[in-house]
């Protein structure tokens, strides 16, 4: 295992809010992780970069309401490429009632509004030591 956790952070589709994803990116970097900040991309491009960069985890951000369509697509495409274990976490405005369905479709964890940076960092660290 390499020394630093590598995470790819991407915003889904055309969602224009960057505040949350940048704050999380800064916090993960300050926690010693290597952060690749991709900006807005569609699922195919996110998976392509994730595999190219050999990341340990993907972090998706969405506040526009596009998460139910695009987040599961990321999992779908990962599976098509034979990648079944890469954790994918999602943050943003995700209503409670969407969470079970998203988890069922393979999203590892969801961080809705009000989530603390610490809870995100702790989760990523725990994920990485399990694997």
């Amino acid at each position: 295992m390499r020394e630093r956790i590598r995470i790819l952070i991407a915003r889904l589709g055309l969602d224009a809010h960057w505040r949350g994803s940048i704050i999380v990116a800064k916090a993960l970097r300050d926690a010693g992780m290597e952060v690749i900040y991709l900006g807005n991309k569609m699922p195919e491009a996110i998976v392509e970069v994730a595999l190219q960069e050999d990341v340990d985890i993907i972090g998706l951000s969405s506040l526009s309401g596009n998460h139910n369509i695009l987040a599961p697509q990321v999992i779908e495409i990962l599976k098509q490429k034979g990648e079944n274990t890469l954790p994918v976490i999602l943050g943003g405005i995700i209503p409670q009632r969407d969470i079970p369905k998203l988890k069922e479709k393979g999203i590892t964890e969801i961080f809705g509004p009000g989530s603390s940076l610490k809870s995100i960092i702790d989760f990523i660290l725990s994920k990485n030591s399990f694997d």
């Binding site: 589709g13 055309l14 224009a16 505040r19 807005n40 209503p95 809705g112 509004p113 009000g114």
Partner: protein, 561 residues
């Protein structure tokens, strides 16, 4: 003018100072709390304010009367007695037919203006059937692809009587959407001189504040913004062609000081450019409008609006030599802070937004949007948007806060805070001047790192408990009361069918010709909006126009991280 008169004479000030020292000493002796306290933007706050804190103020020069320079006490002589603020609730979702129903509902319930939000694809210049748009069409606002959609959006609404705000965000969206609105008005036989309303059209929106694929370079985006201002000065002089979106800067993470300094510097850049183009400052200045946030620090926000008015009044008069008083009056819309809303215990947001709206009213806002309680979870339902509108109506008709102008003016605390905010804003504006102005501050990436740093700092303050958020870092409930979640109506298919039909029906030869003329205008200095208002009548799409603008001007990757 002779020596600067002060509000208090030296003798009485000395006496107050002496007593004040004794009072402070007694606090310590009696173990009263003298721990340092700060405002949300980091201004140290005293336990009490006295004439000492405003000793340098000259009433007539620094405060004056409402409707007069420097407009600290409000932009109109009798403020809300003469004209209540416009209750302008945001609405936009799904295809235009659906949003139209919400507009008619809000007007029937007593809204006095409309506030149209557009979906992510429209804002970024993509048609609803674009592969990039499939998951975002109809979200965050209404989908507009052609002038036909504009007609559907405003069907049955007398737009010659209702003032409409088009929240187009960035110029690349505005150039199409505002043109469609004007062309639609013409098709209804309404003269553009009679149209009242506002377009957002702020170049910082796309380049720094909300970022998505296909951002124009800051210089190009700024040019489109100024083209719209110049166009309206000639043809639609009751229309506010730009709204400097300090609100959105704040939402992205700015402090209250940055919010005002960045918005005012953006406005200064536009004034300079319009003057450079040969437009007289008094012909357009009174139509520049501002959009600010109402965050949760009640007094700081009130002082902020007052400080912004004084700074702008003096800049317009002293630096740009505006002669008409109206040119020096900063008019603004306020939205209660979306970023302050919590997903936890969502009904608490009603209370939060009501306090914030009260600060906007005590600060002299011209129009207000109150956030709906469910906005941290979804787009507003009919019930939540009605509750937000009722919050405004309670303010207007029950609280009796509308009877006198600037009711907190003269408070030692408010005046001192107004002075302090003014000083800090001016110093940040000086820093931007040394960077070469707002457009350069954006293209160099300076602005992005400043905002991101403030946003990060704010979040850390919440996590450390320095900033308290009820329901999030204190007074949490294990179980939340569930609320109804809004479902966005089917949009992509509805819009796709329309686009297919339109592309068959329209005269595609003419479409190609107008698109060519748009491309040519990009290369010259010709005003693009002059061409656009006629072009959109051929039912060219938002996506077609934006593709040309992006190809001609090139796109840019804002340096965010």
């Amino acid at each position: 003018m002779g020596e600067r008169q002060k509000n208090f004479n030296d003798k009485s000030l000395r006496e107050i100072q002496k007593e004040s020292l004794l009072w402070k000493k007694s606090l310590k002796e009696n173990d009263e709390s003298t721990e340092p306290v700060e405002s949300l933007s980091g201004i140290p706050i005293e336990p009490v304010y006295t004439p000492e804190h405003v000793a340098g103020t000259n009433y007539l020069e620094d405060l004056g009367f409402p409707g007069q320079m420097p407009f600290v006490r409000g932009v109109y002589p009798t403020m809300y007695r003469g004209r209540l603020w416009t209750m302008r609730q945001l609405a936009g979702f799904g295809p235009p037919e659906e949003t139209n129903t919400r507009y008619l509902y809000l007007l029937k319930q007593g809204a006095t203006g409309l506030n149209s939000t557009f979906d992510y694809p429209t804002l970024r210049g993509y048609d609803s059937d674009d592969p990039l748009a499939i998951a975002d069409a109809g979200r965050g606002g209404v989908a507009i692809d052609t002038i036909e959609d504009m007609g559907l959006l405003f069907q049955g609404i007398p737009i010659d009587n209702v003032s409409v705000s088009l929240v187009t965000c960035q110029p690349i969206c505005n150039i199409s959407v505002q043109s469609m609105y004007f062309a639609y008005a013409q098709s209804q036989g309404i003269s553009m001189e009679h149209l009242t309303g506002t377009s957002q059209n702020d170049f910082m929106m796309e380049t720094a504040i909300t970022i998505a694929p296909g951002v124009l370079r800051p210089e190009a985006s700024f040019r489109l913004c100024c083209d719209a201002i110049e166009y309206c000065t000639r043809h639609a002089f009751r229309w506010n062609p730009v709204s400097f979106a300090g609100y959105n800067y704040r939402e992205a993470g700015c402090t209250t000081i940055q919010e005002i300094a960045f918005a005012l510097q953006n406005a200064c850049a536009c004034v300079e450019e319009l003057i450079r183009r040969g437009v007289s400052v008094d012909d357009f200045a009174s139509r520049l409008s501002f959009f600010f946030s109402a965050q949760s620090d009640f007094f700081e926000e009130i002082a902020k609006y007052r400080a912004a008015r004084r700074i702008w009044g003096r800049i317009m008069k002293d630096r740009f030599h505006a002669e008409k008083p109206r040119s020096c009056a900063l008019r603004f819309h306020v939205q209660t802070a979306g970023a302050s809303l919590t997903a936890q215990q969502p009904l608490n947001n009603i209370t939060r937004a009501a306090y914030q709206a009260l600060s906007a009213v005590l600060g002299g806002a011209q129009s207000v949007h109150v956030d709906a309680y469910d906005e941290a979870l979804c787009m507003p339902t009919q019930l939540s948007s009605l509750t937000a509108l009722r919050t405004q109506q309670i303010l207007q008709h029950e609280t009796r806060t509308t009877h006198t102008a600037d009711p907190l003016g003269g408070s030692y605390f408010i005046e001192s805070l107004t002075n302090e905010i003014e000083e800090r804003v001016l110093s940040l504006m000086d820093e931007i001047d040394t960077l070469g102005g707002m457009v350069k501050a954006v293209s160099s990436g300076w602005i992005h790192s400043e905002i991101a740093a403030s946003a990060y700092e704010y979040q850390r303050s919440i996590e450390s408990g320095k900033i308290k958020v009820v329901g999030v870092n204190c007074y949490r409930n294990e179980e939340d009361i569930p609320i109804e979640i809004f479902e966005v109506p089917e949009t992509v298919e509805v819009q796709r069918r329309k686009l297919e039909r339109i592309k068959k029906e329209r005269n595609n030869q003419k479409v190609r010709a107008v698109l060519d003329s748009i491309a040519r205008a990009c290369e010259s200095n010709e005003n693009l909006m002059e061409i656009m208002v006629d072009s959109v009548k051929e039912r060219v799409t938002v996506g077609e126009v934006s593709a040309i603008l992006k190809a001609q001007f090139g796109t840019w990757d804002p340096p965010l991280f």
